[in-house]
C-alpha cells in the first residue's frame, strides 16, 4: 500500500526511504524538497507552511496511490511537512521503489509535480529584509467568479 502523511514534525529522509523497498525491487528514488536561502533574488530566512490538513491528507494519499499505479508498485511513500521551517529543512519527501529504475524515476517525478499542482498547502516566505509574503502558486480547479 502506498503510504502518505501530513506532518508537523521534521522529516527523516532515511525513514521515508525505509518505507519502500522489497526483495523484487532493483531501484529506489528519493526526492526531497528543501527550504532554500534565496528566491527570485531575495534572501530567505525561512518558510511557513500552512495546509488544509483534512483535504491535504486525502489529496496526498490519492497522489501516492496514483504514483503507485504508474509505477506498477505499491511501494510509494510521500510526506509533506507544515509549520515553520528553517533554510535547509526538508518540506516534502517522496520515495518510490520498483523492479526497474525508469518506473521509480517516473513515479517520483509524477508525485512531486502533482503535490505542487494540487496539494492544498501554501507557503509564506520570510525574508532577511521586509515583510513575509505568500508565494503565488497554481490554481488547481477554477470556479468562475463572474457569473
Amino acid at each position: 500500500m502506498a503510504w502518505s502523511e501530513i506532518t508537523l514534525d521534521p522529516i527523516e529522509p532515511e525513514a521515508v526511504l525505509a518505507r519502500v523497498g522489497a526483495a523484487e525491487d532493483g531501484a529506489a528514488v528519493l526526492f526531497l524538497g528543501v527550504v532554500r536561502n534565496e528566491n527570485e533574488g531575495r534572501r530567505v530566512s525561512g518558510m511557513e507552511y500552512e495546509g488544509y490538513v483534512a483535504m491535504a491528507r486525502q489529496q496526498l494519499a490519492a497522489i501516492a496511490r496514483e504514483a503507485a499505479e504508474r509505477a506498477g508498485s505499491p511501494r510509494v511513500a510521500a510526506v509533506h511537512r507544515l509549520g515553520e521551517l528553517k533554510v535547509g529543512e526538508v518540506s516534502v519527501a517522496v520515495a518510490v521503489s520498483t523492479p526497474h529504475r525508469a518506473e521509480a524515476f517516473d513515479a517520483a517525478r509524477y508525485a512531486i509535480e502533482e503535490i505542487k499542482t494540487r496539494l492544498p498547502v501554501w507557503k509564506r516566505e520570510h525574508y532577511l529584509e521586509g515583510a513575509p509574503e505568500w508565494l503565488g502558486g497554481r490554481t488547481p480547479v477554477v470556479a468562475g467568479g463572474a457569473e
Binding site: G33, Y49, E50, G51, Y52, A54, M55, Q58, H80, S91, V92, I112, I115, K116, T117, R118, L119, P120, V121, W122, K123, R124, W134, L135, G136, G137, R138, T139, P140, V141, V142, A143, G144, G145, A146, E147
Partner: protein
C-alpha cells in the same frame, strides 16, 4: 453553510471561516458572489478562485447542499 479560508484568503477574510446562508441548491459561483458582496477584504478575492466541496476540488456549477464543507483554495504552493 460553513466556509473555510486559508493563507492569503484567510488574511482577506480576517478569519479562518465564516457562515453563509444561501437558498437551497445554490452553486459554488453563487457562494463566491455572496462572499464578495460582503465587501471588505472579501471584495478583493481574486476573479478566479478554486473551491473544494467536501475536500474535493469542485467547479463553479457544483450545487451545494446543507452541511457541505466548503473551502476556498488560494493558488497552492506545496513542496
Amino acid at each position: 453553510m460553513n466556509v473555510l479560508f486559508f493563507a492569503s484568503h484567510r488574511e482577506l477574510a480576517g478569519a479562518g471561516d465564516t457562515v453563509v446562508a444561501l437558498p437551497e441548491r445554490s452553486t459554488v459561483n453563487a457562494l463566491l458572489a455572496a462572499l464578495r458582496e460582503r465587501g471588505g477584504g472579501l471584495a478583493r478575492l481574486p476573479e478566479q478562485v478554486a473551491v473544494a466541496v467536501n475536500r474535493q476540488y469542485a467547479d463553479g456549477e457544483t450545487v451545494l447542499a446543507d452541511g457541505d464543507e466548503v473551502a476556498l483554495i488560494p493558488p497552492v504552493a506545496g513542496g
